[in-house]
Amino acid sequence: MTRYVVRRLLQAIPQLFIISVVLFVLANTMGDPLASFGGRRRIRSEDRARLRRRLGLDKPVMVQYVIWLVGNDWMQVDVDGDGVADQRGTRRGVLRGDFGTSFMEGRPVLEIIRERLGNTLLLMLTAEAVILIFSLAIGMYSALRQYSVLDYVFTTFSFVGYSMPIFWLALLLMYLFAVNFKRWGLPHFPTVGMYDLAKGKTVGQVLWHMALPVATISIMSIANYSRFVRSQMLEVINQDYIRTAHAKGLPKRMVVLEHALKNASLPLVTLVGLDLPLLVSGAVVTESIFAWPGMGRLFWDAAKDTDVPVLMGILLIISTLVVIFQIITDVAYTYLDPRIRYD
């Protein structure tokens, strides 16, 4: 097992290397980061050249990548643009934990991301919990009461839910639960932010503001997973050991929860692990719409401003999380299902 984990971790290194090269080249060639500098004032061309040099944008992309990766404090850098290297660089590179400084804010990227990471995790973990609870409950019900009215309702719901663009779902939810509920004088959900500025950042406020974003992120996955749980459950409850459990007189509740559910929900673990990138994409859109101050929104703002260091910071952190999460998923699976062995 240890050998397997070590091998997977070693394989993750070239993978992350490829990811970072692809993303770096794209991020650095997609626009001019200086375009939005200086607001409406025109920047003189010599200032522009000086800025480019200071930000390191005057070098070829591949050189920029190397500096981004390992820093430039080990070599001499040309600061004044006369073609003569005159001073040591100050960047230490991503590999030594230096993600650079934001072009727009002038603050270290890690500091900016740290402020937002917690908010995103709060949203995603809550959504993940909601997804698991609802898809297990719905899937189990549909399997045990196959072809019942509610089973058909859930089936229809899951197909429709799966076919919706996530932002359109967000608009629908906002329109119904925020706009119209307000119009009808019902308690309505807020549409933007994390908390009411007048009321402060209390647990209740944050929960209240989280309801719609979490629902938006969860519904599509619930639609997908509940179908999956249903088909898994149907397969399991027809197996011999379930009949044996019934035959030896175990209460139905026990048979379903202890024997059937355990085996039926196992493959869900893999699915959840593999779908993490999808969930992250959903979070970007959801955070942008609901003005949730998380990493998704940060990414979107950074993409608009071509703030490359921030973009790369977010992308690298998310990609690393995804890769590591997949390894954890595979390892967790061997503990949950001892029949599976990786050798």
């Binding site: 997609m30 799966y162 076919s163 088909s231 990138p277 998310i318 995804v322």
Partner: protein, 318 residues
């Protein structure tokens, strides 16, 4: 064996004797026809295709793009059944022309994804070894980047680099081509994995060895022997891919990096939606519901195709 069962068995045998055996295609078609959801999907899809193809007989494209500030943001009425948008354009007419572009983008983007995915998957599965290792690591790497990030980066990367062009008597914004490329380049990975898996299992079969024994070239074996035998999962994945591509177009457009006006798409009709959320719901409701219906229909058809073309998968899921 009772008399009745014997009779039924006899009738079944008789049937077999009288009719010539069905071809695999006929069998698949029969299974597909019995799939209720798939038939609903086909019906819905036909309705949508008629909507976007026959619509132009009633409304001209000039009408769809004509702005009329005196009726801007008008709610649905007899003159404008779906209402008008922020510059007074008729939303019904725009959903017709927008639908054409959205469906076109969906189909062509899958074309791009199919080409790249099949190529990568086939090379990887057929040759194995170092080629396989390199291509698959690259595929996995691409899969691990959340898709929306790639879409945004690529859309910004390629945006504005292709000029407007005319074809088929219509003017297309160059951004249509960009979006097709962007969506295609971010959705080939699953296809590549499916094709590779199929190639891995099929290339070990005797008929491939036989083909190799009589001296067929790799190219012939890949294109004429293995690929036709792995067409079923490719067709299913491609069908479902069209639905995914239509949704992707909507995402990119919603984030303001999609097809540029005046060319309408269902996606870019939604990009102003947020600012009109509460006061002009018709502006985002109609294009959105058309996307949902189209995607739903394609998903139904894709599901039906999977069950029809791959009976083994059906046996497993039931």
């Amino acid at each position: 064996m009772t008399a009745t069962t014997r009779k039924i068995a006899w009738e079944a045998m008789e049937e077999q004797v009288e009719r010539p055996p069905l071809t695999p295609g006929q069998l698949a078609w029969r299974r597909f026809r019995r799939h209720k959801m798939a038939m609903v999907g086909v019906g819905l899809l036909v309705a949508i295709i008629l909507y976007v193809t026959l619509g132009p007989l009633i409304y001209s494209e000039d009408y769809a793009n004509r702005t009329d500030l005196s009726v801007r943001l008008a709610p649905p009425s007899a003159a404008h059944p779906f209402g008008t948008d922020g510059t007074g354009r008729d939303i019904l007419a725009r959903t017709i022309y927008g639908g054409q572009i959205s469906v076109l983008i969906g189909v062509l983007a899958v074309g791009v994804a199919l080409t790249v995915g099949t190529l990568v998957g086939a090379l990887s599965g057929y040759y194995g070894g170092a080629i396989d290792a390199v291509l698959m690591r690259f595929t996995e790497a691409m899969l691990n980047i959340p898709r929306l990030f790639l879409l945004i980066l690529l859309a910004k990367f390629l945006g504005g680099k292709i000029p407007t062009f005319k074809t088929l008597g219509r003017t297309f914004s160059g951004s249509v081509v960009v979006i097709i490329g962007v969506i295609g380049m971010t959705s080939w990975m699953y296809l590549a994995r499916i094709v590779r898996a199929n190639f891995l299992s099929i290339k070990e079969q005797e008929f491939v060895t036989a083909a190799r024994a009589i001296g067929s070239r790799d190219r012939t074996i890949i294109l004429e022997h293995i690929l036709p035998n792995s067409i079923a999962p490719i067709v299913v994945a491609a069908t479902l891919g069209v639905a995914g591509a239509i949704i992707s177009e909507a995402y990119v457009s919603f984030l303001g990096m999609g097809v540029q006006p005046p060319t309408a798409t269902w996606g870019n009709m939604l990009d102003q939606a947020y600012s009109h959320l509460s006061t002009e719901p018709w502006m985002w409701f109609f294009p959105g519901i058309l996307i949902v219906l189209t995607v739903l229909a394609i998903n139904f058809v894709g599901d039906g195709l999977r069950d029809a073309l791959d009976p083994r998968a059906l046996a497993q899921s039931e």
